[in-house]
Amino acid sequence: MENAGYIILSRQTALGRNLQMLAHNIANMNTNGYRGERPLFQEFLTKTDDGQRISQSIDRGLVRDMTPGRIETTDNPLDVALSGKGFLVVDVNGEERYTRNGSLRLNAEGNIVTNSGQAILGEDGPINIPAGAHSISITKDGVIQSSQGEHGRLRFADFENEYLLLKEAGGLFKSAPNQEVLAAENIEVLQGSLERSNVQGILAMTELINVTRAYTRAASFAKDEDQRQMNAIRTISNMRGN
């Protein structure tokens, strides 16, 4: 009897989460290396007692947009943008995390770190720039040089299925359990550039309108359903009265 109400509820709950995802994308429109996401809706079939099948809506998973963000020139020697599939490797308390945010800097010891101070891993561990070295240059294949010679090469990680990666705060990705970390091939480093967020303002705005409208539609459907039930109750009770 109340199935229609539950179907609308399933739609509205999913839309609520959809809005949250959109809001998060828009909030991160200027976050370097950010990857946008959208929900993946699916029909969810339930059986009723009388054998009918009812289809509800569920946001079963999410689709992460892994297309590269726009690349902006900054001319800052420690800004790197990656061109091609792959990630920089970050050391977070002994565990590896992966990022596309190439806004790097030096810490007090001269190690190359992310903007939250976590060490960037080279092929032989953290990369150190000795004191007094200047004119840092990073070649296309990730070799870091300065006035005092070579200091190591950046490590690039790649995954067969990037969609399995889990997101963590601060633009970091974590590999899923048992996910194999490969060495990235065909990746190029662009020094003096940054990869910005891949969220497209216009698409996000139209999606926002869609979600709001779908929500209103679902609500008006809920209202109609409420009206229908009220009518039914009234008609039935009138029948008894006669």
Binding site: L19, A23, N28, R60, G61, L106, N107, K167, A176
Partner: protein, 261 residues
């Protein structure tokens, strides 16, 4: 409705962005000013449905799961220490640094400050000081009967006195180099202070290993690029507007719910 709060974090972040950009624009003509940029990072994620969890009795696995983010925060304001453009002033006590390094100055409390703004002056006693009157290290005093002052590329200050055909060296400017100059703390008046993040300074003379050269009669202008700042300002403002639309939309959806009954 978490989207309301997420929109708010977005607006706050963009507000910081606009503040940083406006400070850059305000200091476009400040000698030795280094522009800053705001950097953002995404906030925590909620795992509503973990990827890898089973989705049916047959054992099929959710490939991606549902992770909901909670917004954005300002991670850092990063100082970009690229070289500013050189402006010729022909004033003998204006010096610019071409390359790495900072002039050391003695702050009133006895602490050492660092600056790139080389618009120096003479105090009443003939000492080379900053426009605020702080002594430039190591404290060089110019004799009162000086005819002309010259500062060479290595930072050697020499003077010419009456009845003398040669120049007398009166001192050498001291420079400091930091492992991470972006980590210095700006205390205003173009002065920076050493922090844990910047690392300890190595002092030395100009034109030696790692240090830049000194140009007399020149000032280093700010490294603010007006075109770049204005475009960043436009992006920041648009992002701010879009985040406000998120808030309006969430509000509209909340109103829809309230109007249900």
């Amino acid at each position: 409705m978490r989207a309301l709060n997420i929109g708010a974090t977005g607006m706050l972040a963009q507000q910081t962005n606009v503040e940083v950009i406006s400070n850059n624009i305000a200091n476009m003509n400040t000698t030795g000013f280094k522009r800053q940029r705001a950097e953002f990072g995404d906030l925590l994620y909620q795992n509503l449905r973990r990827s890898g969890s089973t989705s049916s009795q047959e054992g099929t696995v959710v490939p991606t799961g549902v992770q909901l983010g909670l917004g954005v925060r300002t991670m850092a304001t990063y100082r970009i220490t690229t070289q500013g453009t050189m402006r010729i002033t022909d004033n003998p006590l204006d010096v610019a640094l071409n390359g790495e390094g900072y002039f050391s100055i003695e702050l009133p409390g006895g602490e050492t400050g660092y600056t790139r703004a080389g618009a120096f002056q003479l105090s009443s006693t003939g000492t080379i000081v900053t426009p605020d009157g702080y002594t430039v290290q190591p404290g060089i005093t110019v004799p009162t009967d000086t005819l002309s002052i010259s500062i060479n590329q290595n930072g050697e200050v020499s003077v010419r006195q009456p009845n003398s055909t040669t120049e007398t060296v009166v001192g050498q400017l001291e420079l400091a180099l930091f492992p991470n100059e972006a980590g210095l703390e700006a205390i205003g008046s173009n002065i920076y202070k050493e922090t844990v993040a910047s690392g300890a300074p190595t002092t030395g003379a100009a034109n030696t290993q790692g240090f830049g050269t000194i140009l007399q009669g020149t000032l280093e202008a700010s490294n603010v690029n007006s075109v770049e700042e204005i475009t960043s300002l436009i992006t920041a403002q648009r992002a701010y507007e879009m985040n406000s639309k998120v808030i309006t939309s969430s509000d509209e959806m909340l109103r829809t719910i309230t109007n249900l009954r």
